[in-house]
């Protein structure tokens, strides 16, 4: 088992009232899963993904990631944990505008303190694998959305994570680009990477092996 959520809740205070973003969410993920989280706007999909990615806090419940109790960890440990095992892919790519493709890819390695030669090799490997060698010195603004998302995925993968969290990875792309991205995810999953994607689209859902449906912060089926 890769991770497990147990009765996890998150809420915000608004006008003296508790508004639940997530309520008593429990599920687990095994290594090699490809999970699609679905639900209407505001159902808590992104919040759930952020919590799994340790980018956000929760108020109640337990979260175990690779046998570590995340809810008991200090910020620094948590940061080390996701740095090592989790890669993120965003709907709006979130590449750093001032850095080139190559430099964007290199960024996670810098924070993991890889040596220069190793960084170079890993970046070259990724550029090659995603067929973007020719684009390595371009800035994000010079790329199409699909290409930017390719770089985003490459960046997520470069540190060799066990889990990829993708928040509507095709949301800003046209259908052809979207299909290509989903094919890449399928391929990655086959190679053993666990994937959790948040999606609106029935079509993308079908790439996954399991579906979690959220409504108003609670799991409806899963």
């Amino acid at each position: 088992m890769l991770l497990k959520l147990n009765n996890l809740s998150k809420w915000v205070q608004s006008g003296g009232q508790k508004i639940h973003l997530l309520k008593d969410v429990s599920f687990w993920v095994n290594e090699g899963d490809f999970i699609s989280v679905m639900g209407p706007s505001g159902s808590g999909k992104s919040t759930l993904l952020n919590i799994i990615g340790m980018l956000d806090d929760f108020n109640e419940g337990e979260y175990t990631f690779m046998d570590e109790a995340v809810h008991n960890l200090k910020e620094k440990h948590r940061s080390n944990l996701y740095k090592q095992y989790i890669g993120f892919v965003f709907q709006s790519y979130h590449l750093i505008d001032e850095l080139t493709v190559k430099e964007n890819l290199e960024m996670p390695l810098l924070y993991k303190k890889h040596g220069g030669a190793e960084r170079k090799a890993l970046v070259a490997d990724m550029l090659d694998r995603f067929n973007i060698v020719g684009k390595k010195d371009l800035f994000p603004a010079q790329l199409s959305g699909g290409q930017q998302q390719l770089v985003g995925i490459a960046r997520a993968l470069i540190a060799n994570p066990k889990l990829i969290l993708a928040d509507e990875p095709t949301g800003n792309l046209n259908s052809k680009q979207g299909e290509e991205i989903m094919d890449i995810f399928t391929q990655l999953n086959k190679e053993g990477v666990t994937i959790i994607q948040v999606t609106h689209s029935e079509k993308n859902m079908k790439y996954g092996s399991r579906v979690i449906n959220l409504l108003d912060g609670s799991i409806v089926t899963g």
Partner: protein, 836 residues
């Protein structure tokens, strides 16, 4: 990793060119201003530092025995040094110097003899160079001043007099007060006196050259023309020594008071202590030497304080700007920070990145500032009359350390706010771009803007009042018309009888009136002790000037009682005197309205020095300013210059003044022509006459030269502060405009007019400025009020000046901000709203 930070910093700077440039310019101007002021202040504080024994050298000051006994002045009698040598073993050396005033020198070279008028001409004793270490070039320092008729020249003068020949052993002739040429031998050459010295001289002669006069008058305590300097022995406790000195005047001064004034010491001092104090050499310049320091420049501690404060304020202003803009800008970096965090960056790494970035900016700003300093120092030196050089500072390790520390500090301070603030966010929030929509720190930024404008507005108000005061003093009614009066100096060189010259001058149609005087407003400093002959009246100190009826005519002073001299009709008038109203009051003869009851006319004044000469008052003139309008009008006795019963009859500097006949002058060259013709006329009488002239209105203006200089420098720095504040405001407005573009778009969709949007946007900034104005006005009022106490005649603190400054500040704000407001109001809402 560091490389990555540099790269990001550089590319960010490039991407936001406008911000970067504003930021760097503002910072550079601020730092440059601070450097220049820093140099100036440092220079003012580092006078007289080159003397090897400097920390043991003291000047002996004593009370102003001719006026305010509670005020210490720097001139002492010749006997003080003798008393100190005899009675105080704690002194290793005591020396006197005498400022003889300008002298006429004649130097014979192979071809001809040249005449020079030397202004910085002092007499000093043999041990002068045992105390002061002015660097020697030629001659024997130990013996050079040992003999009478010895002379030491500055390098520059030696070169002028003798060219490349060795000046040692050559002779120089000096005209004495009787018109005889006295021959001096050059015994030494010293380097030109550094400008940072409170003693400035070009020519130094041995005091023993005046042995006759020293024998006759050397015992006097009232010949206060000397500077007395002492070198104390090592390890001497100065306060104990100062206490000990207080026994000297009661022991040594009584012969002076008894023989000259027929008064006991106590009577003479009216019970005030004749206090001797020791002023450390390094304090002399910087503390703004007391009055009657006639040997060189004195500093003005008030200006050092004012400029120091402005320098620090401008630096604070520009640092605030820098922080404000950096912080505002950094919210645009929220996404980058979010991504970095998601990719595993720790908080410390982000903080490091931001601080490194801002330090880099400050470094660049400092570098540009140094260039600006180099470019503008020449202009500053001209305005402020200084000789500052960047290179001397750049080669000073301490300066470099200070600059380094400054760069680090400002970098850390301005980098840490965005660093700590932004890095504290959870990445999930920053990635959603939440920060930019509710970016905090607005309160902080607004208060910083208020602070900046408070300072700038206060500076503007102060500047306006400085100008107003200068204008007021120059247009003040001083009791006579000071315009169009040409004055020829050095008339004493022609001997006492100059009637033939006067006749010639009078016949010149260019002159309405011609008159001779021994002293010129605004520089009438002579004075004496007088009493009335009624009962046992008090002795009072009155200023006096010796002149003639024509001069009073020329000035056009108004008589409130009695009449002018009339020596042609009544020869005895030369033994009569004229008083001003203040003198009448001081002598206890009532005030003007009371003259009818008790007329001062016909009363008698007498010199209080024990002589029995009595002078009848024949007239009273309305008070007029015979000194700078900086001070109140003092009591004045006008004595006829042919009065041979006064002790200084015939001596002293004298002048001819001419009121120009205005119709004869249509342009400046006419005036020059007339001056040349006068010069030629005098040259016929005495070819060696050192021709020198001045105009009285200029002399009056010159008494405010320090204030004018300060006014000019203040103007410049006020403009600097304004520019910096406006740059900051502009940047902030640009930032806010960007932030609010969506809001403005929505308002526009909902029907707001462009003008309404501009007003909405601008008024928010105007509010801040109004708050600044409200704070600045009382501060400025306090400062101006305080500064004006330095003047006897003060301009009124009018409301309209404050109003003007306020309107000006608001206008500048509206100009600065509305551009941005208009820019964002004109954006098509389709554009601005699509972005989400």
């Amino acid at each position: 990793m560091i490389k990555n930070y540099f790269k990001i910093a550089w590319r960010n700077a490039l991407r936001q060119k406008q911000f970067s440039i504003l930021n760097i310019i503002g910072l550079s101007i601020g730092i440059a201003t601070c450097f220049i002021i820093g140099f100036y202040v440092h220079s003012e504080l580092s006078y007289d530092m080159f003397h090897e024994k400097g920390d043991r050298i003291y000047r002996v000051n004593q009370p102003d025995i001719w006026g305010d006994w509670e005020e210490q002045v720097s001139s002492t009698g010749p006997n003080v040094a003798i008393a100190l040598r005899e009675d105080v073993p704690e002194f290793e050396e005591v020396t006197r110097i005498l400022n003889t005033g300008a002298q006429i020198l004649r130097v014979q070279d192979d071809v001809e003899s040249n005449v020079y008028n030397e202004e910085f001409y002092y007499a000093a004793e043999e041990n002068f160079f045992d105390i002061f270490s002015f660097p020697w070039l030629k001659g024997n320092k130990a013996t050079a001043l040992g003999q009478p008729m010895s002379m030491i020249l500055s390098e520059e003068k030696a070169k002028i007099y003798f060219g490349n020949n060795d000046p040692i052993g050559k002779t120089v002739e000096v005209k004495d007060w009787q018109g005889h040429w006295q021959t001096y031998t050059v015994k030494g050459v010293i380097e030109n006196i550094p400008y940072k010295s409170h003693l400035q001289f070009d020519v130094l002669v041995s005091l023993s050259s005046f042995s006759d006069q020293m024998k006759r008058d050397g015992w006097k305590w009232i010949w206060t023309a000397f500077g007395t300097y002492a070198l104390v022995k090592e390890g001497t406790d100065i306060s104990t020594l100062t206490d000990k000195l207080q026994a000297i005047p009661p022991k040594w001064a009584p012969p002076t008071t008894e023989r000259i004034f027929n008064q006991t010491f106590e009577e003479f001092t009216k019970g005030y202590p004749w206090k001797l104090d020791l002023q450390p050499l390094k304090e002399i310049y910087r503390s703004g030497s007391p009055d009657f320091h006639t040997f060189g420049p004195t500093g003005n501690p008030m200006y050092v304080k004012i400029f120091g404060a402005i320098g620090i304020l401008v630096l604070i202003l520009s640092s605030i700007n820098f922080m404000n803009l950096s912080t505002a800008r950094s919210s645009k970096r929220a996404k980058e920070i979010g991504v970095r965090k998601v990719l595993g960056s720790q908080k410390t790494a982000l903080i490091k990145q931001f601080i490194l970035e801002s330090t880099l900016f400050v470094f660049l700003g400092t570098f540009i500032a140094l260039l600006l300093v180099q470019l503008s120092l020449g202009v500053f030196n001209t305005i402020a009359n200084t000789e500052l050089e960047l290179l001397t500072y750049l080669s000073n390790p301490l300066f470099l350390v200070i600059v380094g520390v400054f760069i680090l500090m400002l970098g850390i301070i301005s980098g840490s706010y965005p660093a700590f603030y932004l890095s504290a966010f959870r990445p999930a929030e920053t990635l959603k771009g939440k920060i930019s929509s509710r970016f905090k720190g607005k309160g902080v930024r607004n208060s910083l803007v208020i602070f900046q404008f408070t300072i700038s507005i206060a500076l503007v108000i102060c500047t306006l009042f400085v100008q107003k005061q200068l204008k007021y003093t120059s247009s003040l009614d001083i009791g006579f018309n000071r315009d169009h009066i040409l004055q020829i100096h050095n008339i004493e060189q022609l001997g006492f009888d100059t009637e033939s010259l006067k006749t010639k001058l009078q016949s010149n149609p260019a002159f309405d009136k011609v008159g001779k005087s021994f002293g010129l407003p605004p520089n009438i400093w002579t004075g004496d002790r007088y009493k009335t002959t009624e009962g046992n009246s008090d002795v009072v100190q009155l200023r006096n000037v010796r002149t003639e009826e024509d001069y009073l005519d020329l000035l056009g002073v108004e008589f409130v009682a009695g009449r002018n001299f009339d020596t042609s009709a009544r020869p005895n008038d030369k033994y009569k005197v004229i008083l001003n109203e203040e003198a009448v009051k001081k002598l206890g003869w009532g005030i003007k309205d009371n003259y009818a009851n008790e007329s001062p006319i016909g009363k008698i004044v007498a010199l209080a020095s024990g002589d029995e000469d009595e002078f009848e008052v024949i007239g009273v003139v309305k008070d007029f300013n015979f000194n700078s309008v900086r001070q109140e009008i003092g009591p004045l006795v006008i004595i006829h210059h042919q009065n041979d019963k006064v002790w200084d009859y015939g001596a002293g500097l004298s002048y001819y003044s001419m009121r120009l006949h205005q119709e004869s002058f249509t342009n400046a060259s006419d005036i020059q022509e007339v001056i040349t013709s006068v010069q030629e006329e005098i040259a016929q009488i005495d070819p060696s006459f050192p021709f020198e002239y001045s105009f009285m209105d200029q002399d009056f203006n010159n008494t405010f030269v320090a204030e004018q200089q300060m006014g000019l420098v203040l103007n410049i720095f006020t403009v600097m502060a304004l520019i910096i504040a406006c740059l900051g405001l502009f940047g902030l407005a640009a930032f806010t405009a960007e932030q609010r573009v969506k809001e403005l778009g929505i308002r526009k969709v909902l029907g707001a007019k462009i003008s309404e949007l501009v007003v909405l946007f601008t008024s928010e900034f105007a509010k801040l400025i109004i708050i600044s104005i409200a704070i600045a006005i009382p501060i400025a009022y306090f400062l101006v009020d305080d500064w004006l106490t330095n003047f006897a005649y003060r301009t009124s603190i009018d409301l309209w000046v404050f109003a003007l400054a306020a309107v000006f500040a608001l206008a500048i704000t509206v100009l600065t901000v509305s551009f941005q407001a208009l820019k964002s109001a004109l954006v098509n809402p389709v554009e601005s709203l699509r972005a989400e």
